[in-house]
């Protein structure tokens, strides 16, 4: 059973605010991912990590940053939110040598 958590589930903030989206998993998975998904559109990979102190940019250019200080924790930060950042953000993880990714419930972000 996949145990991956994201907080907050919904966030409405004003332009220019700094925000951090939290993602935690209790499965001990090494690999973690952040995706962005707009309604009716495909998931786009924005960041991923192969383990502690490893972070890479994904295929979709993003103004966000990530960190991986602990195996279970992979937060995403936007230094200055803009309306173009409005989207659903999905966190996922997978275990070593396996490719199945397990997703969290997502954070729906709205920037006014």
């Amino acid at each position: 059973e996949a145990d991956i958590y994201q907080t907050p589930r919904y966030l409405v903030i004003g332009t220019g605010k700094k925000i951090t989206l939290e993602c935690s998993q209790t499965m001990g998975h090494d690999k973690m991912y952040w995706y962005q998904q707009d309604p009716g559109m495909e998931l786009h990979l924005i960041h991923y990590s192969y383990g502690v102190n490893s972070t890479e940019k994904g295929d979709l250019s993003s103004e966000s940053t990530v960190s991986r200080i602990r195996t279970e924790h992979f937060p995403l930060t936007l230094e200055s939110a803009r309306p173009s950042h409005t989207s659903q953000y999905l966190c996922a993880s997978s275990k070593p040598h396996y490719n199945e990714q397990f997703f969290g419930p997502g954070t729906r972000l709205t920037v006014l």
């Binding site: 996949a2 994201q6 690999k31 009716g40 559109m41 495909e42 998931l43 990979l45 991923y48 192969y50 994904g58 295929d59 999905l90 966190c91 996922a92 490719n99 199945e100 990714q101 397990f102 997703f103 969290g104 419930p105 997502g106 729906r108």
Partner: protein
């Protein structure tokens, strides 16, 4: 350019009416193809992984199959609770851990 295309975009079926969803891909070095189910406002839920042409996987009313160019998700005698968006994703060549997703098929089962 690597592409994943799902069809149809949307499908409405009567309860009990079987059908198939398609995922076609134009990629080189396919390492795996994945099916997910996504309910509105939630993250995708993993269903199946297929690794080689001819492989089949089943789970309740769902069966996934894979050929060299496409995959099908067959739904037999669906129920309203099967209504969701079904996503497929491909994993490319060695050293690349990134999934490429299609846009999904939105399935509605009418009671």
């Amino acid at each position: 350019e690597d592409q994943v295309t799902q069809s149809p975009e949307a499908l409405r079926l009567q309860e009990g009416e079987s059908s198939s969803l398609n995922c076609s891909y134009t990629v080189s070095g396919l390492r795996g193809l994945f099916w997910y189910r996504q309910d509105p406002g939630k993250g995708p839920e993993f269903l199946f992984t297929l690794y080689s042409a001819g492989e089949e996987k089943e789970k309740e009313r769902l069966k996934a199959t894979l050929t060299k160019k496409e995959s099908f998700l067959h739904i037999t005698a669906p129920k309203p609770e099967d209504s969701a968006t079904y996503l497929c994703a491909v994993l490319l060549g060695f050293g690349n851990e990134k999934l490429t997703f299609g846009t999904g098929t939105r399935l509605t089962i009418i009671p």
